[in-house]
Symmetry: D2
Subunit: 359 residues, 4 copies
């Protein structure tokens, strides 16, 4: 039971102030446009969700800033990222409401808003930076121009990003070389053996034509090539330097380990967490994609609110602003359970719960 004075719904939510923040420009100009209220409310709701998104990402970043992330904090981090994913889903669902406004309705007040633009959302910028988006120089300049001087007001601490913190956490995992089990050399052997089996299978296949065999061999060569680029640290580092990869070699190893042995209790939550990061990445990409489509439909290829030819720019950012592509890409390097090196018993036991060992 609370000891303080009773709380009322309206004052708790500060409704009088909240509901007085919608002041259409069109009304101020003496020609009220019915749909401008919708336009304002949709964007205010977006900003409220961005705030919640930041609240969760900040809390997860602070959990991951610890030198050693306690296991119970892992569960917390996974839950909060799951919430972020749900918010990202809602951002998408919400577009269907804005889409009920037609371009002609938008034209009734669009000119009055110039040059305001969603590109000026500081919260969205911070959200991307904190998640780990990397802008190339042109994008960054575009962003800076839009955020303008207001940016200075925000002292957002965006570093290290969630990407960096997760990368470091992966690199710290003790299981890459654990009590005599070296994951990387076991994995390398398994891959080599698998590729040799495939090579033999092609050579001795009873029903493949010669040209089909050549085709299969070419594909196998490509597969081998892509595994080589992973297994060789130097080549991986080179790909990172060229920005074809982003995740460090060691962190990639750890992520693979978790994916391949995700059935082990100790990897349940880490696996879920990595998967959720990829989910969020894809949801944000889908949101950018759908948002670009909607903007295109609303303003055509004309110069957008904000002076940028919106659609072209938006569209170009859908893929380039993804953060955890290397995690999504792990599928390339998974090997079937049947080819997977089995863990030594004492390692498997370590990855289980303490009470089991003693049972």
């Amino acid at each position: 039971m609370a000891k303080g004075p009773p709380i009322h719904y309206a004052s708790y939510l500060k409704l009088d102030r909240l509901l007085s923040l919608q002041e259409p420009e069109s009304a101020r100009h003496g020609r009220p446009a019915h749909d401008e209220t919708l336009f304002i409310i949709v964007h205010q709701v977006y900003e409220l969700w961005f705030k919640q998104f930041l609240h969760e990402i900040d809390s997860v970043r602070s959990l991951f800033r610890q030198d050693r992330v306690a296991e119970r904090d892992m569960g917390l981090a996974a839950s909060r990222l799951h919430r972020v994913a749900e918010i990202a889903k809602l951002l998408i669902d919400q577009l269907s409401i804005l889409e009920t406004m037609t371009p002609l309705d938008f034209l009734d007040f669009r000119d009055l808003l110039s040059p305001a633009s969603g590109f000026q959302s500081i919260q969205f910028h911070d959200l991307e930076m904190k998640f780990g988006v990397q802008l190339d120089p042109a994008q960054m300049e575009h962003r800076q121009r839009n955020l303008g001087s207001t940016r200075a007001d925000s002292a957002a601490d965006v570093n290290p990003s969630l990407f960096t913190l997760v990368e470091r956490w992966l690199e710290r995992t003790p299981f890459l070389d654990f009590r005599g089990f070296n994951f990387w050399s076991a994995y390398r052997s398994a891959v080599t053996a698998m590729l040799e089996r495939d090579e033999k299978a092609i050579a001795t296949h009873p029903s493949l034509s010669d040209s089909d065999k050549e085709q299969e061999k070419r594909e196998l060569a490509k597969t081998r090539e892509s595994f080589d680029a992973l297994l060789d640290k130097e080549r991986h580092d080179d790909l990172v330097k060229k920005k074809h990869r982003r995740l460090s070699h060691k962190a990639t190893q750890a992520a693979l380990l978790i994916h391949l042995y995700r059935d082990q209790p100790a990897f349940h939550v880490p696996f879920r967490l990595l998967t959720t990061l990829v989910d969020i990445d894809e949801l944000l990409a889908s949101w950018r994609h759908r948002h670009a489509l909607m903007a295109f439909r609303m303003i055509g290829t004309k110069i957008g609110t904000g002076g940028t030819s919106g659609y072209g720019y938006l569209r170009s950012t859908v893929e380039s602003r993804k953060v955890f592509t290397d995690l999504a890409n792990l599928a390339t390097f998974l090997i079937p359970r049947s080819a997977l090196p089995s863990l030594p018993e004492h390692v498997e036991k370590s990855l289980g719960f303490a009470f089991e060992g003693s049972a």
Copy 2:
């Protein structure tokens, strides 16, 4: 091109004020609960959508207040109600975000909010009243107790409700008795003929057993009974008095006319509008249902925030607060196209576009 000074995104949306309205009680009490921010933001977002919902319903009500609703205004009304339906959908989708908060997390700050409760939302109350919800005395008393003195502040003009305005508009339709075509007597004859055909079909059915025939006859009797209650104005009025029906006899006739001849151009938009009203009604019912489930899961059957045993009350309101049940119920009285009286040619022409007649 705007002539005024340039507008900035943040000032247009009043972001500094908007984003300063989240002040968790738990922080004020010195034991910040991470999830209270979510709780506040979710409810603020709900209130913003309620405001938009009211904005649309108010505009549709004002369109329908005209003595004669211009045809182009019908299209506008249908679009705005479609938007309301989209908002109602989002209210439901949004629950999945609140559901990421577990009951244990809620317990961290729930006691501090007492006795604040969603039942104190004036906007939601107004929204229901304006849509046409009728509360029975017990519900109304419950509502008044919750809204309390704050209610006085709101001078919301909730009458006539959308239900009443739509009912009046239906009653005014000129087509019930139009240039020699009396819809109700044509419909009555068609129903009578259909039921007689069915009676004969049962009697002469080649393969039905006697007991099956008896069963079919009993069902036919029930069907006849339910048509009779519709066709007889006095019986219908009596059902209205007993609150088993709500829509007046004349409005019901008009709604049936629109449903049966909805392929006629003049009925396209009216049919869509009536359908959307039922959609909104169902979406709000689904929202209440899902909301009740969530509240149950969050607080159990314990006394809820706000001093009411939330779930029981919420659950009881899912059905009773529906407004357009009689429209949803029209399916009961539809007759197959093959049994439908065909319109006289000059009537059909009147329901088409002017340019067609002259083509």
Copy 3:
């Protein structure tokens, strides 16, 4: 690389046969109704999803049939139940397609289908039974009449249901009395202390009026009463006998333990699994609810396909067919983290991972 002959998409999916299974009755009767194809396909798709639902539930049931569920199998069970929840969501989404068919369109062929009805779906019946739905005698008789003789063909092994298996698994948990820590007595003390604190807080509250204090006391008495009914095994058993509760006293204790200490690594997956069971229960309830609404809208209150007055029956089943209500109801008995007895260190260690202890 596969060793067999190449597989083709169409033959793998048996598309020629699959796509030949849609034979509208209306076409057979010489008056093809456009929408009957939709009606058939929607229901065939439902049956395919029911099959998948059964596939997952069966696999989870077989995992839980083991005397001791291996921890890695727990992760598997949780994932598969998550998939079931996703399927249940889709069942709901799918209704929006059927809703594009209007009642008048349905009338074009409805009579031809008599007395076929969704109540005759054996897979859906099995799915409910395997999940753990309990039908009262009237419902069961209704069901049997609809399933009719065809039921004999299905030798579905529906026992023990998932509910029963989960109950048994909960009862087997070793942690209720573990190395000197007796959960139930610790919980009882914590509840007693919390209620006493509340009692004192009311008595000494500085600003409550006397009548408010009386009101608070009455509510506290109800809360105490509901905790008493849980803490006293005999009273709980009595509630079970009267069908006000379903989950055994011991299983309820275990479920509470998992909810209260869900942050412990060993409880992460069990907590998720229990939550998902409640999710599925609610999704099925939502589906029944929305489905009832749709049926109502499609056929009114008229006698439905299948000779039952569909809506009334459907509506009545929404709540009564829930299975895991007692898990959803656990919120009633949670106590704030601040009041929670902390685990002895050696118990907490046991609930962590083996590698942590040795680190």
Copy 4:
């Protein structure tokens, strides 16, 4: 009441056959993979929805094949396209079920399916062709290779596509030059006047700096340029030849007319229909996008089932396979209601309902 023998749910839906069409390859190879059932069912469900999609598109195409589309058929076409949009939405929702299968689970049976691939779906190919997708030669060759000889079996009549039929219907509209009102010259004058107003507003703006004025002038020049390319038929035709536009000049005029005067009763349904076509286009694009993301996540950049490096190919098709881009692009050419030439009264009357004129 039906006259025939009673129909049973299971036989109506041919459930015995339907539910026997799931035969996992992994089981045939003696190492059953639990998730292959899901894989089969998901794809069979997709094919059932494709069939329904085709059923609707075919019916709309046949409505539009008439020399003059009756107004009541327009309503029918709009409803059926709305259903297609709902199906397209479900295709997207359904991905969330397939996403519950992890890459490692897929690896358990992926090799056995080689080289089967979704690219071999004839129904999907037909669906795209009938909707109006144009494949470039490389895409078409790729498609042909995948569909292979089985294609011959399908005598699908894909021409004229829905795109072509809609284009022809737009070109036939009588309102471009109607009773003395020439839309195109009125539109041209309005555009010219608007651009001149903008030019003057820049020149005389009280607070713009010189460099801002230069910037505004450059943007205005671009806007003028893009209107010119529309207003000049030859330039438009040239853009069509270069495949930068697809919709003919006359059809574009008609589509613009409908968008600008969509409040007129006669344009309600046409406007809705055009909007729904763009919706479907976008939904299919979103589906391709999300599907590509999922495939990437499932198989990485490795050579996909079907021998194509799936993701790259899929991704490249998201935009290029859109059909109604020119309709989506109309926003570029809308002018504010305030600048819109008002219709002569007798034209406005013609676009209303016949009964209004006589009222």
